[in-house]
Each structure stands twice: as C-alpha cells, then as structure tokens.
C-alpha cells in the first residue's frame, strides 16, 4: 500500500482533482434537488393558507401579492382567497425578529371584516415547551374572531389583551407583534383598494 509522494506537484494535482470532482458532483445534486426544495417550500405555504382561510377555489399561492411596507425590510406576502371570484379572505404573512430566539413568522387569515379567522405559525425557534406553545390550541384560541382594531395585540403585562403563555412573555409578545404587522399591512392594502 504505497502512498503517493508528497511532492509539490502531486499535492496540488490531487487536491485539484478531488475539488473538481466534489464541485461537479455537488453542482449535479444541487440541480437535482432545486426543484423539490422549491416545491416543498411552496407546499408548506399552500397548506398554511388552507388552514387560515375559509374554503376557496382560486390559486392564492400563485397570485401572491408582494407589498413593500415601511414596517418590514423585506416585502410582505399577501394571498387573497376567493370563492367563485368573490374575495372571502386574505392571508398575510407577518413576522417579528424579537422572539426569544429570533424570528417568529406567522400567517394570519383575515375575514373581509378585518377579524382574524385563524393563525398558523410558519417559522419559529422558540424554547421547546415554552415559547413553542404559541403553536398550540390553548394560546391560539384567544385570537380567533377578534378584530385587531379592538383587540390590543400586546401581552396583558404590557397593557394589552393577549393572555400570554406562562413563562414565555417574550415569545407571546413577538407573536402579537407579528400579528400586528400582518393586520397593519392588511389594512393598508384593503384601504388602498377603496
């Protein structure tokens, strides 16, 4: 079992060859997985929309509107659900980076009258068993049917109406902030339509 001599040329050649092979293989796999990755991301969005809006028969995911808002550095995504060409609800993605562990991204489904139909958590890295309770039914219940214009989206500790998760005020606050962002954008877009 003889090893190649460590001459300068040999070292360069062998590393070069290995790198080229690695690079090409990775590029190949990248092409293979690009499609499924995008598909998986889209599927998650579609599932979320289905959960926050009443029944619709259009294709909101394909008709996404990107709104530039002062409140966020990236564009906000808005999906309008329609049943037989009548708008039956709007799903807006809101987020807050002030979660305990950073980003909390949610999708809020608004009824045409501005009340919340349902909220789905898209992304969060909160503490398991504490902040992650924001995904649970117990916490979520209090938002359904409420109108952010009347329901203050801050934890009770901050003078708001949210019954925060015990021991996870920061997560609850971030959740409220994200919902507020979604609502503000919702109002902006529906007002500009009128």
């Amino acid at each position: 079992m003889s090893k190649k001599e460590s001459t300068f040329l040999n070292m360069i050649i062998s590393l070069f060859v290995i790198t080229i092979i690695a690079g090409v293989s990775l590029g190949f796999i990248n092409d293979l997985t690009k499609g499924p990755i995008a598909k998986a991301k889209l599927e998650r969005k579609v599932n979320a929309i289905k959960q926050v809006l009443p029944e619709f028969n259009n294709n909101p995911a394909e008709q996404v509107k990107l709104i530039k808002s002062d409140m966020a550095k990236d564009s906000i995504e808005i999906y309008t659900g329609m049943m037989d060409l009548m708008s039956i609800g709007t799903a807006v993605i809101g987020y807050s980076e002030k979660g305990y562990s950073g980003l909390v991204k949610i999708m809020v489904g608004f009824n045409p009258d501005g009340s919340i139909k349902n909220i789905v958590v898209l992304e969060q890295k909160e503490t398991p068993g504490l902040g992650t309770k924001m995904k649970g039914e117990k916490f979520m219940r209090q938002f359904r049917g409420e109108k952010p214009s009347e329901f203050n989206l801050k934890p009770e500790k901050d003078g708001g109406d949210i019954d925060a998760i015990a021991g996870a005020t920061i997560s609850s606050r971030a959740f409220g902030e994200a919902t507020q962002m979604a609502y503000d954008v919702f109002v902006e877009t529906t007002q500009s339509k009128n």
């Binding site: 690079g23 990775l26 990248n30 980076e97 305990y100 950073g102």
Partner: protein, 191 residues
Amino acid sequence: MEYILILIAAVFVNNIVLSQFLGICPFLGVSNKVSTSIGMSGAVLFVMTIATTVTYLLHEYILMPAGLNYLRTITFILVIAALVQMVEIILKKVSPPLYQALGVFLPLITTNCAVLGVAILALGLENSSLVKAVFFAISNSIGFALALIVFASIREQLELANIPEGMKGVPINLLVAGLLSLAFLGFTALV
C-alpha cells in the same frame, strides 16, 4: 445599542457553549487547567474573528451573487482549516512556549463546532453587515472564554473533592456543566 444586546446575548443569554452546544469538545477536553483554558480561548478568539470576517465576505460577494450557496459548508470549513494552519505557523515563530502549551489543541480548533457554527450563524443576523458579523464573532468568543475559564476553575477544585467511583471523569464533568448551564439559564430575563 443593538451591539450591546448582541454582546449580552452572546455572552450570557445564548452562551455559545452552555446553551447553543457549540464548542463542547474543547470545553470538555481543554478545561482541566485554567492556564490552558485562557490560552485556548485566546486562540479561538483570534481564529473565530478572522474566520467570520473572511467567510462573511466570501458569502456576501462571491457565493451569493453566483448562486453557489450550497458550497457554503465546504468553503467555510476550508477557510477555517487554512486559518488554523496559519495560526500554528505564526505561533511557532512568535511564541514557542504558547505553541507548546496548546500542543495538540491547536489543530483541534478546526473541528471546533463553535468556529464553523458562529461563521454560519453570523449570516443570519438581523440587518446583517460585516461590522455586526465581526462583533458577533468577538462576542461569542468572549462567551466561549467565559464558559471555558469558569468551568476550568471549577474543575481544578473538583480534583480535590471526593467523588464516587462511577461518577469520576466524564459524568461529573457533564453534571457540573449542566449546573453551570442551569445558572446561565437564569440570564434569559436579561434581554
């Protein structure tokens, strides 16, 4: 203001070793003496900061524009490996006694998950910029140093204590680390 938050978060609230679990191997391996811990922390500070600078720039100006995001892992680790080699060579010339003291631990910085971990985490910072990324790296190496040095001082004391046979070595170290981590958990209310 934001920078103070980054510093406090990195050192106390989200301590790289005690809550994010990065850098455990050197944490358990080097911390039997306070003096080696200080040396290791210094080396990590140096490598982590420079590595994050280079990887951030690499990512921002070469990988992203060319759509080569998937080469991130491989290029980052090669940058780190090269940097560690350089540090070894420089240290040998500049301070042979320190080089001797750190011994086999120096090349191990390459496989220190904290260095690669921080380099990757720096990419996901809110409103990221090079300055922020570098500051993040420095803060995290301070956090690493804190955890390492505190743990080492406890371990030096532990040598003198009476420990049941089955718990000697790894188990008692892990237990102490757990208690230390528990203590740091109390910092969560800071931010």
